[in-house]
């Protein structure tokens, strides 16, 4: 087990380095530096600014400084657009918001997805089953950027129940729609996975034995069938997490919640390279860490995997 974790870490760290270096080189090779504006600056001023941000160093030194800053000081450097803010400030402001509704969405998706899948599998071919399958097909063609306008249309414009956006320090009315928009498609995927793996487990021999012994259905489901049927769901959690982080860009933009997604899009539109790089790398770190956790969890639960 320890060996497995070490080996996975040995893959994760180079991946992270590749991501950092790749995005730095992309930025470096961009036509027009971050300080090219419509009115050209006098050469001395430009040279001074470049010296301040270290842009006149050779490429390898810039990469080294940037990487060193991230790894050892968790410092993503200054924002090229806003002189009084560093990328760290921007992240510190936006990340708690993203984390709040992201965590809620994750919980909602996993809980309701699993429940729906289990119920559909137990009552196979009943109306509940058809309902669950229907919902999961429907949710597949409703990605968050389509769902978000529809939700606002229904709940804000037609019914007037919920505010159409804003954050208000995390009031629950402001969290509801982002969570629904973000979690629905993942809930549907989890429900489908759960249903098919539960059906497979329920048809296996050890469940038949358990039934033959006369165990109550509840006990069979929760003690015997649940654990093996959770495996495919767990392996899906990694991609689901990545999808939610990515989806948060749409949520922030549409519901004006003010998470990191908003800063990412603004940075992209303003060519604020250091901000978008910082956020990309942060998301990369999160993704890689989360995938690592999921892999370890998988190896821990599945007795068939021996590393």
């Amino acid at each position: 087990m320890i060996y497995f974790i070490i080996r996975r870490l040995a893959v994760s760290i180079p991946t992270l380095l590749i991501l950092i270096i790749l995005s730095f080189i992309l930025m470096y090779s961009a036509p027009g530096g971050p300080f090219t504006s419509e009115r050209p600056l006098p050469p001395q001023v430009l040279a001074n600014i470049q010296a301040k941000y270290g842009l006149d160093d050779p490429l390898w030194k810039q990469i080294w400084d940037y990487t060193y800053g991230i790894i050892f000081n968790f410092d993503f450097g200054p924002s090229f657009r806003y002189k009084d803010r560093s990328v760290n400030d921007i992240i510190a402001q936006g990340f708690p918001v993203t984390l709040t509704y992201g965590t809620w969405s994750f919980i909602v998706a996993v809980f309701f997805g699993c429940s729906l899948g289990i119920i559909a599998a137990i009552r196979q071919n009943s109306w509940l089953d058809y309902f669950a399958v229907g919902v999961s097909i429907g949710a597949q063609v409703l990605p968050n950027f389509v769902l978000a306008p529809i939700l606002v249309l229904v709940f804000t414009l037609l019914l007037g129940w919920l505010p159409g956006g804003g954050w208000n320090g995390g009031q629950w009315q402001c969290i509801v729609m982002p969570v629904i928009a973000l979690s629905t498609s993942y809930m549907a995927s989890i429900a489908r996975l759960m249903r098919s793996s539960m059906l497979e487990v329920l048809n296996s021999n050890f469940i038949r034995t358990a039934k033959a012994k006369g165990l109550p259905v509840k006990l069979i489901i929760f003690r015997h069938a649940l654990k093996p049927s959770l495996l495919p769901v767990i392996s899906y959690l990694g991609p689901a997490f990545v999808g939610m982080i990515t989806g948060s860009v749409v949520i922030d933009l549409y519901f004006s919640t003010g998470g990191i997604g908003l800063h990412f899009v603004n940075g992209a539109l303003n060519r604020d390279y250091s901000t978008i790089m910082g956020i990309t790398i942060l998301v990369g770190i999160l993704t890689i860490t989360f995938n690592l956790i999921v892999d370890i969890l998988y190896a821990w639960i599945d007795p068939k995997i021996r590393y």
Partner: protein, 309 residues
């Protein structure tokens, strides 16, 4: 003797006259099953109509996608409504441009991105996957590690960085989406190749000294076609969603060109002014097409998967 000869003759005649029974190949079976699948057939029909419409429809429009209707501008909510008499079949957008021609033009882009992305995925993924799977060993583990590394990079973000740093263009969008799309395909193809390469017919080819690349092209790739086709159909909607996502953020194709994502985003922004058609027309095109792709993909999978017979 005579009798026996007679018997032989009749047997011979019998065999001769026996109607030739055509063998049923995997693909014949699959086609039959696919044709019986109502949802898939209706989706196929609908999708064909949408594709044809998006390419033929613009000829019936009185407005191009760039022209601004100055009469409607300023009072879009009443004058820009969908109507036959003004020539705006789907109404106008908030700048007074004809939504009918914009939706059709956006459909062309979105569908094209879907097909091109899937095509890149099929070509690159199949080549990469078969090479990794067929040669195995060190080659395989290095190639698959590379795929693992690429998979754990947050691609949507890198793609957006690409679009920001280099000029936004349809070509770059194609390349960027193509870069992501082949990874899953490579994994699937590799898995299939691994199980194929230990079959007897491959062993026989190796034994009689057929060259590696000929084995791959002649024997392995044709056997992969079924599964590749299924995943390609399921990939297309994924590509369309990716493109629409980027366009929704305003980072996709550049005006006056548009796509479903950009149109949905515009419609969503203006819906509180009572111009709902600006959201509903592109949205319904988007949803109906995606439904069709998923049903066709599911139908193909059911048709080609020997397990579900």
């Amino acid at each position: 003797m005579f009798l026996k000869n007679n018997k032989n003759n009749s047997l011979f005649n019998n065999i001769n006259n026996l109607d030739y029974i055509e063998g049923r190949s995997l693909f014949d079976d699959a086609r039959r099953r696919f044709l019986l699948n109502k949802a898939a057939m209706i989706s196929l029909l609908l999708l064909t109509l949408i594709v044809l419409f998006s390419f033929i429809g613009p000829f019936f429009s009185q407005w191009t996608n760039e022209e601004i209707d100055w009469n409607a501008l300023g009072n879009i909510a009443t004058l820009g409504k969908p109507s036959i008499s003004t020539g705006h079949f789907f109404g106008t957008d908030e700048l007074g441009r004809d939504l009918y021609s914009r939706v059709l033009q956006g459909s062309q882009i979105s569908l094209m991105v879907g097909f091109v992305g899937a095509l890149i995925a099929v070509v690159v993924g199949t080549i990469y996957g078969t090479i990794a799977g067929y040669f195995g060993g060190k080659v395989d583990s290095i190639m698959m590690r590379i795929v693992d590394v690429l998979m754990s990079i947050p691609y949507m973000f890198v793609l957006i960085i690409l679009m920001v740093i280099f000029e936004r263009s349809v070509i770059l969008l194609f390349i960027g989406i193509g870069l992501i799309s082949w990874l899953d395909m490579a994994r699937i193809v590799r898995g299939q190749t691994l199980s194929l390469k230990n079959k007897e017919f491959i062993e026989a080819s190796i034994a009689i000294g057929v060259k590696n690349y000929i084995i791959i092209v002649k024997h392995i790739v044709p056997n992969l076609l079924g599964i590749v086709a299924v995943y390609a159909t399921l990939l297309i909607p994924g590509m369309i969603i990716t493109e629409s996502f980027i366009s929704f953020l305003g980072l996709g194709v550049q005006e006056p060109l548009t796509s479903w994502g950009a149109l949905i985003s515009e419609g969503a922004r203006t819906m509180q002014y009572g111009t709902l058609w600006q959201l509903l027309f592109p949205l319904s095109f988007f949803i109906v097409s995606l439904f069709c792709f998923y049903f066709i993909g599911d139908g193909l999978r059911d048709a080609l998967d020997p397990k579900d017979r």
